[in-house]
């Protein structure tokens, strides 16, 4: 295979690096949008939102070119220093990279939107948004590449992307269609051209030594900045290995998570307080309150087991793998510490939101825009207060247990997924792909059933069959994992027992929350009882055992 020109070679490299992720994006977006479109009236808007979010994420090609998220080298590709030594003018390779990034994302969006719109007979905006997507990508790429200064990058993102987002939002009309005026289109083109020029200038400066270049780095458990980790310096205990490991966990990820949580809590409160005086800030205050918890879980709840990524390779550090400490204990410890820190951070955020929502009362005199969100916050608060006063004490206790264990389960499952994907990337991709495919098939079937193409009976049968299959898989998987873990001495019987007890407690708490069936069974468990107690308990058991199993698999390859 000969590549006739540097441009073709650059394009080929981009394609090679991004094709898997492109396929994943298309798959996930189609399934998610299909699910959203079944949500009735608000469906199309939600679907559109999902598609835009998935296809506006700029970490597709440019980051792969050098490295990964924010160009710091977590993913494969030629390092930037090598790219800069090629006999190709700066304009060419910057142009090729940015163009590929913008155009490929537009194409992916168009394909997904067209498919979903056609399948569900709900046309989604197509070419009218294409220009916006291109501009957005160009701006983001320029910011990430031209400067390595984090302050510049973040400030630039806020200054440019926020207005862009607002412009889009203002142009979304219902029934769903997007239209930009001629002036706005020209503005978008202008912004695109300017960002291209700035990118070329910035890269040229880097190329000729005027500024530093992003180099491939190792990504560790939590992508927290270095200065944050150094901020909380306390000495390592030498009395026992467990304490030293807790110290390591706290230093490398726990304390940063706590700090960020506290910072976020303070920020939310401040935004609400300032919102009293500055009305336009209010939507953002509410937005930050709403997305804070999911954002914390998304950004800081992953990779609790400490898998490292460097230039496309995912592995477990040999420094940690050769420490004389049991795999199961290490798993439990890491997940525990991360969950504890995450819980504290979430509680801080929750308290802040609670306190901030009381400030909303101060907003009411100034509330002139017809937005329903602000009263919505008040309504939610009042409902919560009523519930607290109404429900008995043990319900609250059960709720706290459930919340704590659910957070731990989220962290455990994300950690397990990262570890398994590092060990068996192909199998995990195939598994996830098949699940998505199955989900899509179910959604399409539901759609067909609604249109009368497929009989309701058949659909119900398929649904119940799915339930049975899921239950069977859950039971079989749990049994197999527990048996193998005991056989390989991965878990001691005592450890298995403690996990079982914890899972049973979780199941009991779930049952308490969801309520016992009205007819008290005389010593004979009904299906609902089983479902509400056993399903969560089994799920928790399986996830915890799977977590240590996955660490074992990647520690001993």
């Amino acid at each position: 295979m000969t590549m006739r020109s540097p441009v073709v070679a650059l394009l080929w490299e981009q394609w090679q690096l991004t094709r898997v992720e492109a396929a994943q994006r298309v798959g996930v977006s189609i399934v998610a949008a299909s699910v959203a479109l079944r949500l009735g009236e608000v469906g199309p808007t939600v679907a559109f939102g999902i598609l835009m979010v998935l296809h506006s994420m700029f970490w597709l090609s440019i980051s792969k070119l050098t490295g990964g998220r924010f160009l710091d080298g977590y993913k494969p590709g030629f390092p930037l220093q090598l790219l800069y030594t090629r006999p190709v003018p700066t304009v060419v390779f910057v142009g090729v990279a940015m163009a590929y990034d913008a155009i490929s994302c537009v194409v992916l969006y168009l394909v997904s939107a067209a498919l979903v719109g056609f399948a569900f007979d709900q046309p989604l905006p197509l070419f009218s948004v294409a220009g916006w997507i291109v501009t957005f990508h160009l701006v983001c790429t320029c910011l990430q590449w031209a400067s390595r200064n984090r302050v510049v990058q973040w400030a630039g993102m806020i200054v440019t992307c926020l207005p862009l987002y607002l412009t889009l939002r203002n142009r979304v009309a219902s029934p769903l269609h997007v239209e930009f005026s001629l002036a706005e289109n020209v503005m978008l083109i202008l912004i695109g051209v300017v960002s291209f020029a700035v990118a070329v200038a910035g890269v040229a400066r880097q190329r000729h030594g005027g500024a530093s270049v992003a180099t491939p780095r190792t990504a560790g458990p939590v992508a927290s900045p270095e200065w944050l980790v150094s901020l909380f310096s306390f000495s390592c205990p030498t009395s026992s290995a467990t304490r030293a490991l807790v110290w390591l966990e706290l230093r490398s990820s726990g304390m940063p998570v706590l700090a960020i949580g506290l910072g976020l809590a303070m920020l939310i409160f401040m935004l609400f307080a300032i919102g009293i005086a500055i009305a336009p800030l209010r939507p953002y205050a509410v937005l930050s309150a709403v997305i804070s918890v999911p954002a914390m879980l998304w950004l800081f709840g992953g990779n609790a087991l400490g898998i490292r990524h460097k230039q496309g390779r995912s592995y477990f550090s040999s420094f940690e793998a050769t420490q004389p400490y049991g795999t199961a204990q290490l798993t439990g410890l890491r997940i525990l510490v991360r969950s504890a820190c995450m819980l504290v951070a979430l509680i801080a955020v929750g308290v802040s939101v609670w306190a901030s929502s009381s400030l909303v009362n101060e907003w009411v005199p100034w509330l002139m825009n017809g937005k329903e969100v602000s009263p919505g916050v008040l309504r939610a608060r009042n409902a919560l207060v009523a519930e607290i006063l109404e429900k008995p004490g043990y319900q609250h206790f059960a709720r706290m247990v459930v919340v704590a264990i659910v957070v731990a389960l989220i962290i455990a499952s994300r950690a397990t997924f990262t570890a398994l994907r590092a060990r068996h990337p192909r199998r995990v991709n195939i598994g996830v792909g098949s699940l998505l495919f199955y989900g899509l098939a179910l959604v399409l079937l539901a759609q067909a059933e609604q249109h009368g193409i497929v009989s309701t009976l058949l659909f119900n049968q398929i649904q119940s069959a799915t339930n049975w299959i899921v239950a069977a898989v859950l039971i079989l998987a749990t049994t197999y994992l527990v048996w193998r873990s005991l056989a390989e001495r991965l878990l001691t019987p005592r450890q298995v027992l403690s996990v079982v007890v914890m899972s049973a407690a979780f199941g009991a708490a779930c049952l308490t929350l969801m309520g016992l069936p009205s007819v008290r069974p005389e010593g004979f468990p009904t299906a609902i009882f089983l479902e509400r107690l056993l399903a969560p308990a089994l799920l928790a058991l399986m996830l915890f055992v799977l977590a240590s199993w996955s660490l074992n698999r990647i520690r001993h390859m």
Binding site: V229, S230, A244, S317, S318, P324, E488, H556, M557
Partner: protein
């Protein structure tokens, strides 16, 4: 009967269809220095990773101190010191924090030895790992590996990419580890003169198989290097009995051969030449003859 510290039996391993190890058997006895040599990709690192449990034995068995490193990682790793090629240390840790952290895992940590080594290497304990140069990282990793006086020290390419000063430090650490009673060292290296000085036993690996293994002096005495003069000119190396590699040209050739000197001499005389000089081959010559590309014929058993 000497105690066997490491016992590897017919271990095989392949990655994505490529064979890294092919029925490798390896035994390390206590109190000895075992050198592992081989070209890149011969399987040295793969073998050492199996000893630490970083790789799981799919066929064959691996026992360290009589334990399986995968089933009982704590039992094995608490008595092992490991210095790896990658030296994957957390970047944000300071040197003194690294020492304290590693100390927590090994009750046998010797603080005075650690301080002595830090002073000898002139390592600033308050420096972060990311500020250290490659050589200093190797030194820090070495201290972490030897300060708890492990029974078994495993060093994977300890000298690669390091200057002579750091290399000397590492060799010193090996000597001291062995000079203290009963401690075993296994190290792999490209630098054959280092292996020759430092090993009691040497194992040569080639393309995933053990090409030869034994006490270093015995191995060396099994191979000779001779200078041979012939009466006539040869364009191609002449075929000689037991010869493994030939260098030179025309009438003078330098030959590495194994087995009996008499047999070789007969063969030379039969081709009209004579043996001028003969001595035991160095490890480098044996290595190049067995694993190099200028080998004249396939290795004799």
């Amino acid at each position: 009967m000497e105690k066997t510290v490491v016992d590897v039996n017919t271990l095989s391993r392949s990655f994505d269809g490529m064979t890294a190890l092919d029925t490798v058997s390896f035994r390390a006895t206590a109190g000895q220095v075992h050198g592992l040599v081989g070209s890149n990709g011969a399987g040295k690192t793969t073998l050492l990773k199996h000893l630490l449990g970083l790789l799981r034995a799919t066929t064959g068995s691996v026992r360290v101190f009589g334990l399986d490193p995968v089933r009982d990682p704590v039992g094995v790793l608490s008595r092992v010191g490991y210095l790896s090629e990658e030296r994957e240390l957390p970047e944000w840790m300071r040197v003194d924090e690294l020492m304290r952290y590693t100390q927590a895992f090994h009750p046998t940590w010797d603080v005075s030895y650690e301080r002595e080594l830090l002073k000898t290497f002139a390592l600033d304990p308050t420096k972060k790992v990311k500020e250290l140069s490659k050589g200093m990282r190797a030194q820090a990793g070495l201290i972490a590996a030897v300060a708890h006086r492990p029974e078994l020290l495993i060093l994977d390419e300890p000298s690669s990419g390091l200057d002579a000063v750091v290399r000397r430090d590492i060799l010193d650490a090996i000597v001291r580890a062995v000079a203290d009673d009963g401690r075993t060292v296994i190290f792999s290296s490209h630098l054959l003169d280092e292996v020759e000085r430092m090993s009691d036993h040497v194992t040569l690996m080639h393309q995933g198989r053990v090409a030869l293994s034994g006490v270093l002096d015995d191995v060396r005495s099994g191979y000779q290097r001779s200078r041979v003069h012939f009466a006539q000119n040869f364009d191609q190396p002449p075929v000689l009995d037991t010869a493994l590699a030939m260098e030179g040209g025309g009438r003078t050739w330098s030959v590495v051969h194994s087995g009996s000197l008499e047999q070789f001499r007969h063969s030379v005389v039969a081709r009209g030449g004579e043996v001028v000089e003969s001595r035991d081959a160095t490890l480098e010559e044996i290595f190049l003859a067995r694993a190099g590309r200028s080998g004249q014929q396939a290795e004799a058993a």
